[in-house]
Subunit: 345 residues, 4 copies
């Protein structure tokens, strides 16, 4: 049994606590939040859980094995570092930290203490993304040509992060999991429509050493909710539409064919090929439950989580570069040391 | 009655000829094409129409008042210039020319000869886009905040132009018609997946002096066809989905509200507002027919077409800059003289 | 504060208990179920709630003011009657009873004891159905011409009821709420595909004294889930699609026009009229919460619930006739005394 | 080369003529229509085609091998009979005739003269329906359990036929082609909302000797256009949605499983099974072209068309019974001699 302390009971914390109660091998010992109304809510729902406004209390509690962090991004580093320093395993909401330096520091701390550090890249644990990974790994798509995602809705304007850190982070996490390579350069554009706010709409292009391109369109100011990702391969292509109640993942047997001998102005150099479409059945288990189980398994076996500190770092690094590029209207930012960071992965 | 010569009977030419037969005030006298098979097809469908492989023959024909050009882009300038020099009014398929210099030259030629020069920005004449223009003009949307368009499908790879010149041109033409301002800078990214080809996938961001942003996502290599444009306003927002059989234009009474006194970490600075949705009935008359009627009206009254030479020039100018930026991975290109070009428009 | 005992913690019971905890004026004192595993689940979620396998215990508990019944249909009558006889207000899952005789008996019992008897016609309390009722009442639709509903999915085959009692009951409850009249005759067809089972697919037509028709298509064996209802009026028409994440209710300004002087074989007697479409914003409050609040209000004021015993009776009566007609391959069943039943409603 | 005379150039005639020009082995010699404006239209489009208001003229023309009939239903019998009596092959728009007696008479006449009699059940020749037939024949669906179709839109109210004869005829033709059995009894309900008109909304249930049921929902007064057919099998199920621009046919690996030992009230006797979905690529060749080619092949080989007189008769017979049942509010009509009619098919 892994005993948890949960810090932050705002938007995501309740999902964490609910799922920690559902996984047989986990238990919630305490919840901390600076807002006492939120703590009262915890108490009414889970009378057996201890509540506190003092995070330190949880750190000192020897019954607690792991800390789950669901607080605003700018607090992640400090809370996670303290938790690790008190010998607790840590799972932290995405993005892992506000800077790459912070991410590297957490990775070191966890490594030195043999603690599990995991970032809550939730989408990686969905049935849809796991199925896409399986298909991509099987080679059926051929060479990956592009990743193109639209993630827009009328959303809460965040105060401490821009829309890239809030929404694009999901795509970066998914890309980190399913693409065979990491970006080598990035160019992002965006706009802030509210005085005193952060960018609420952004477009990010990522370049790769390979002939791949990735693009993410994120927007807090769209009248409609869209969650659609295209993964283009030379043999097959995937459309992943998370708004579909079923058939979220569709695999198209479509592609292009190169005509060796085009013979007129009206004939194209490249034709297209069209075939069947296939929508595989997906595991419908809640992603967060799968993820918590994986965290427990990593604690037990000492293995690195799929979305461990290194994955968290890679994503934060791209987020940082994207925001930087966006401030300069799409200036190209090289991500030259990516191979070093990825290491032996 | 306006008598037409049509040059080019490939993909678009048949639509032109068919609609020229439908409009009561127009008539097709001759069609020219370098491919005799295409001319045979004309003859079988319209026995009364003269056919020729020699474009000059049409220019010399005194019965012909106007030339409609539906040939590859690189030929537009030369054909249009000759037509104007022979005293013919000209309607040319989009994009108007391959360069801004060519566009300026055609505008001059037409002006000096008091001839009508029109570019076939077809979408401008659709019921959907005309309705959007009407709503935007009414002020109901409030301040325009962004234009965001996705125009992707498994499409023919063009040989002489990249995907921007083939697909994004539609959005540039629509933007030119409905937006209250012209872009002042542009950053585009893209990729070419086929050896020896042009870019088949591109992303274009356009910046404005006003706090507006525009983005266009075009792709010849998508397994699904998407034609969706968002027009965000401070009061209302429009979703224009051209793939919808009906209800192509939806107006959402949605937007944001700024909270003057956010009082906690969990409260956002900016909230959102949600209301009814409204899908106005659209005129279903074929766009090309509306456009041809407008061309005839301009010939009769001597007025400048909605999509006249200046509109054609503005679009070509952005296309040029977009391709230039794309070759340099999103390098920002300033479009500083835009006001000069727009002139008294 | 109204104190509840809940009987049945299978599929629907958990929703009841959760919402009873959410409404400030209600409280759950005890839950009974014959399955001790379900009771353990209650205890783990709500440690303060008493659990029992003995329904009588709840009846004898003087702290309990009202009983909520969420058990199989064949048990409704017996449990509700006992609850009323012990002076408890009753809210019972739909359909209210297995027969009209039972329904009449419960109505009498509640009336004699001045207790509130309510049936859980949940859909009546959704934002969508309440909005449709509001629009229908406003007269904007003109005369109601038809109600046509499709309610199909791959669903659990029930053991004690056929698909009409399981799915069509929702439409009958909605019709009872929004239509200006009650059916006067019914013809139903259906089929049972499983040996020893009940009908899993059925089609019900209902006739009215007025020139209205209603039809309901229900199916436990559909590969796709459809929840779509058309409400045709002489002036406007509504499409209510419960599977839409937003825009569940669309009001179409469409209808027919009668041509007084058709002048040829190719001209129709009746033409059609097409206009704008409008999707009103809907209240998104959970229906069950709205319903429980209404139950509490009825207890406090002594007024008849919108979905009181009479509504429950009218629905059961149609269900009975539908099953009867279905057994005879669509034999017409007259519902002649409907006016008597509806009474002063 | 088969030379055609086409009678009727209203709604469907132009499609016939256009396709007769497209098929290399067919040619249109003459078109007759009582409306001279329509004939002028023919002449402007196809100057080489003879036009006449006198159908007899076409009958007497020895150059004409076959007559295509695209006139109102009540004229089909008379025109087809005369054509056969003049030795012409006949293809007649659906439904073949107004009565079964007429259908039998035409079949006899064609048989005696060794002429091809075909009814234009267009949907049978679509890529979608041909693919469904192929899948059903392969046995992959298992036993067919039901056919359920919705075919509604805001449509032209016909003057000489009710909505069953106008819309349900398509489903009856499709069912006749793909189902392994013919209905043995029918019950239909419907309503007429316009004074002096025919039923504009109808529901038809068909029963079979086998444990199959079929249902068709047709409506001229729907604000939305729906063309969706479910074909339920014991192993797989098909959804055929003709409004989908692509993926019109989806095959679901879904079904039910019978639990031999249900062990509690909460466990169902029957569970369900869910798997992948598959959307086969469809032939996109225009149905009418495929059909005309088939007609030509039958003339050349002397074989019976897939949609020959017998198929036309079977459909007319069900239409007749459906209208009869509808007039009596769903009275069951037995179709007892179906086996005799189907003959050795």
């Amino acid at each position: 049994m892994v005993n948890f302390g949960v810090v932050g009971y705002g938007y995501w914390g309740p999902n964490l606590v609910r799922n920690l109660f559902e996984v047989p091998e986990t238990q919630v010992v305490a919840v901390s939040d600076m807002n006492t109304d939120r703590l009262k809510l915890v108490k009414s729902r889970y009378p057996s859980v201890e509540v506190t406004t003092d995070f330190q209390e949880m750190l000192r509690n020897p019954r607690i094995d792991a800390i789950a962090i669901a607080t605003p991004v700018f607090t992640h580093y400090d809370l996670a570092l303290q938790a690790l320093q008190h010998g607790k395993h840590v799972v932290v909401e995405k993005p892992m930290t506000s800077t790459t330096e912070q991410a590297l520091r957490l990775i070191d701390e966890a490594a030195q203490r043999n603690l599990v550090l995991m970032v809550d890249h939730t989408f990686v644990y969905t049935g849809a993304v796991r199925k896409i990974k399986e298909i991509a790994n099987s080679g059926k798509l051929g060479d990956i040509l592009y990743y193109d995602s639209t993630r827009i809705n009328l959303g809460l304007f965040q105060r401490d992060v821009d829309v890239i850190w809030d929404l694009a982070v999901h795509d970066l996490a998914i890309m980190d999991y399913i693409l065979p390579a990491t970006p080598c350069a990035i160019a992002a554009t965006g706009i802030n429509h509210v005085f005193g706010g952060t960018e609420n709409l952004a477009y990010i292009t990522m370049f790769f050493e390979e002939n791949i391109i990735a693009h993410v369109n994120v927007n807090w100011l769209s009248p409609v909710k869209v969650r659609r990702t295209l993964l283009g391969g030379s043999k097959q292509m995937i459309v992943y539409d998370d708004m579909e109640p079923s058939e979220k993942v569709k695999v198209y047997d479509k592609g292009i064919t190169v005509n060796s001998t085009p013979d007129s102005l009206y004939k194209a150099l490249v034709g297209y090929r069209s075939g069947d479409m296939f929508a595989p059945q997906l595991d419908v288990c809640e992603a967060l439950k799968v993820e918590i189980q994986h965290f427990v398994d990593c604690i037990k076996t000492g293995s690195e989580p799929i979305t461990g500190g290194q994955a968290g770092l890679r994503v934060v690094r791209i987020l940082e570069s994207a925001s930087l590029s966006m401030k300069q209207r799409g200036k190209l930012i090289n991500l030259g040391v990516s191979e070093l960071i990825r290491g032996a992965a």
